[in-house]
Every structure is written in C-alpha cells, then in structure tokens.
Symmetry: C2
Subunit: 105 residues, 2 copies
DNA sequence: ATAATATATCGTATATTTACGATGAACGAT
DNA sequence: ATCGTTCATCGTAAATATACGATATATTAT
C-alpha cells in the first residue's frame, strides 16, 4: 500500500483505531469472553474452545497484548492471561466519547 | 491466510468484529466525526480535510457503508453521506454488552 | 452536443493479516 | 540429564487492506 498515512491523524484517533483493530476478529472477541468465563486462563484452555491451531491463537493473544487489552503472567511452563481492566476502561470511555461525538444516543 | 475461519464463530461476534474492523483505521474514525461536524457531507468536503487522495477516501467510505455505519444519498452529481444512527446505536449497544460481559465498569 | 464537476471503480503495487506446521525455549517431573 | 508439557516464534502461503493514478459514469451547466 505504498506508505501508510495512519500517522498523519490525531493520537486519539490512532489509539482508538488500534483498539478497534484488536477487536476486529471474532476469535479475539471470543478470547476476551473466554478469559472472563474461565477461572483458568491458560493458553491451552483457550485453544480448546477455538477452531484454531495453537500457533494461531498465540498470534491473536499477541495482538490483544500489543494494545494492552490483556496481560499474561508466566506461571511455570504455563502462561496465565487475563483482561487488563484499566485499558479496557479507557477503551470503553473513548468509544463512548466517539459515539457521543457522532450523535449516538 | 489459507482459508478464513471467521465464519466458525457466533453471528454476534462476527458482526461486532466487522463493526470494529470498520473503525480500525483513523481515517474512518475521522470521517465519522467530519460527517457530524459538517453541515455539508459531500465527498469533496471530506477529501479536503484528509491527507488522502479522493480514490482512497472513496474506498474508506465504501467500507463504512459496507457495515452500515453510514449511508449515502445521491444528490445530483454529488453524494451526501451521513451517519446511520440505527446501526450506530446497535453498535454502541453491542459494544457496551461486550464490555459488561468482560467485566468492564 | 460539449464541457465541467463529482464520485466510483479499475488496475496495480506494497503492506499487513490470518492461518498453520515445525521448531525452539522454558519449566517441572522423573 | 532426559522427557513431557506449555507456549512463543519462525517460516511460509494465501487473503485482505491501503494507497494512488487513471479512467469511467453520471449530472449539471453552457
């Protein structure tokens, strides 16, 4: 695509677009829900509930981690992932702000 | 990516992911704001405010239209775009539901 | 009819995303 | 030390997204 023009927009818009990108695959939305549903948050448990290979799930987790929506703590050979509430709250706030700005509700 | 697995998720998750995808570029977030700010919503007015070529803006409008977030009415040689409130409201509702589900606020 | 204006679409180049198998790295148990 | 388990990363292939110039289409004005 030649050179990306994304950086020429406002910080806020770039940040929110990036959060939206992290939410733009059903697997990643499902993962967020699974992390909430399960007491355990091992990667294996997530893989079990998705129609995707372990390597693919790992990539999706990486994308969610990249924007800060989840965080992972190493626990022996396992990794325990969970939703990162502060970022989630910021995302909700910014999305609400956008919807208000563009006249919703 | 070989064959997409997106269809193997729930309708709701697919729909919300698709809305998120439409919001996943700062230009498209900016466009939604511009459509609200401007009394006029001609494509030309939008192009003037973005660092992108007309063809590129047209593509972004197409993506927003694809998911129903905006609609365009032909007005002579011009096209008047505006935010599609019902879809916007559904998007907000579904996003709120997601955030509530995953424990936010 | 012709010209000017507004927008969409086509063609194309490059970047990024999605998916997977295979491999590697880290840890716990034997 | 070796083995099994858990997860990330590498390499790779195909799909999709982004960007633009050029062109097509449609309407209004002359």
């Amino acid at each position: 695509m030649a050179i990306s023009k994304k950086e020429e927009f406002s910080k806020d818009d770039i940040w929110l677009a990036d959060i939206a990108k992290a939410l733009s695959h059903p697997a990643r939305i499902r993962i967020l829900k699974i992390l909430t549903e399960l007491n355990s948050c091992m990667v294996g448990s997530i893989v079990d509930q998705l129609p995707l290979a372990q390597a693919t799930v790992s990539q999706h987790l990486k994308e969610l981690k990249r924007v800060g929506l989840i965080k992972g703590e190493i626990d022996g050979p396992k990794v325990c992932y969970c939703v990162n509430q502060p970022v989630l709250e910021k995302a909700k706030k910014q999305l609400d702000k956008l919807f208000t700005t563009i006249g919703c509700c």
